[in-house]
């Protein structure tokens, strides 16, 4: 399966989805006016990956900002990962947040409580 690589912009994150390594990464800012367009290829890729995932998938989410339009799309990404987890594959989710950024930590906790896969909360200390 071809990896999905998207370079970041001031309003959209850097994406690296690699099926061979079992690594899913979203980093940077996600604040487009309409996020559906941006996230559709990500969700489609995961739908395909779900059919034949690695024994262990490592997910790294490291967002500086995201808007509420993106928040629903990010949940769609997590729902795909939840399905992989439910099919008895190992899914590790690392949620990174910058030092003191309680809002971002809380956002991670919100997702964790909805999708029911334990998150590893990792504070980035500068």
């Amino acid at each position: 399966m071809e990896p999905l690589i998207i370079e970041g912009t001031p309003k959209t994150p850097t994406v690296r989805f690699d099926a061979d390594e079992g690594v899913i990464e979203i980093k940077g800012r996600s604040i487009p006016e309409n996020s559906v367009e941006f996230y559709k290829p990500l969700v489609d890729w995961l739908e395909e990956y779900k059919k034949n995932p690695k024994d262990k998938t490592v997910v790294n989410i490291q967002l500086e900002y995201f808007n509420t339009s993106s928040s629903k799309c990010i949940l769609d990404v997590f729902k795909k990962l939840e399905a992989i987890h439910k099919a008895k594959h190992d899914v590790e989710i690392n949620w990174y947040y910058e030092e003191d950024d309680e809002d971002m930590l809380e956002a991670g906790e919100d997702y964790e409580s909805i999708i029911r896969i334990p998150f590893k909360m990792i504070e980035i200390v500068e």
Partner: protein, 190 residues
């Protein structure tokens, strides 16, 4: 009483103004505003969490504006540009204020007012539940709005949303929203 945009705008220019704009709210405008405010915030001696909150709330406020502006009928075209809105970001004493204003059809007021009142009557915990419920159960609109913007703003600022609907004509009113972000971010009570 006639609503005069100039008076409304002038009223909001108190304190230290980081940015003030009235005109068409477009994607390019949003990008410009975000860049400008972000670089201005860098000159302010604030903890990064306060700057982040201001930026975050600004993103939501602008995008709310972008998604919800109602256009006035053609006869006002020479008076107001299409997608007309107002934005003022200022700092007065110990708080940042983000003011947005836009025309809204009168038949939408009741719904919006109820939504804001519900948000303002909610505790921190209540807002968290409301946010998660909408996040998990409501579909994104075609325009990409999700009904989460105001809830998110209230959650992040910890302050009540201050608003007014100023009658304009039989069909339209001007909706004003003032959002405050305290310099001393309130301690999180879990």
């Amino acid at each position: 009483m006639n609503f005069r945009i100039e008076d409304y705008y002038a009223d909001r220019l108190g304190g230290d103004v980081l940015l003030a704009y009235k005109g068409s709210i477009t994607t390019d405008l949003i990008n410009n505003v975000l860049d400008t405010v972000e670089s201005k915030l860098q000159d302010f001696h604030e903890p990064s969490k306060v700057k982040k909150k201001v930026y975050n709330v600004l993103v939501e406020s602008l995008q709310n504006l972008f998604h919800h502006i109602d256009d006035l009928p053609d006869e006002y075209k020479d008076q107001f540009e299409s997608r007309f809105g107002i934005l003022v970001v200022s700092k007065d004493k110990n708080r940042y204020r983000i003011s947005t204003g836009n025309f809204i059809r009168n038949d939408k007021i009741a719904y919006l007012k109820e939504k804001i009142e519900t948000i303002n009557a909610s505790s921190k915990e209540g807002l968290k539940d409301m946010y998660k419920h909408i996040l998990n159960h409501q579909k994104l609109s075609e325009k990409g709005g999700g009904g989460l913007g105001l809830v998110d703003i209230a959650r992040k600022t910890g302050n009540k949303l201050q608003y007014s609907f100023i009658p304009f004509n039989e069909e339209y009113s001007f909706f004003n929203l003032d959002v405050f972000i305290d310099e001393e971010v309130k301690k999180t009570v879990k």
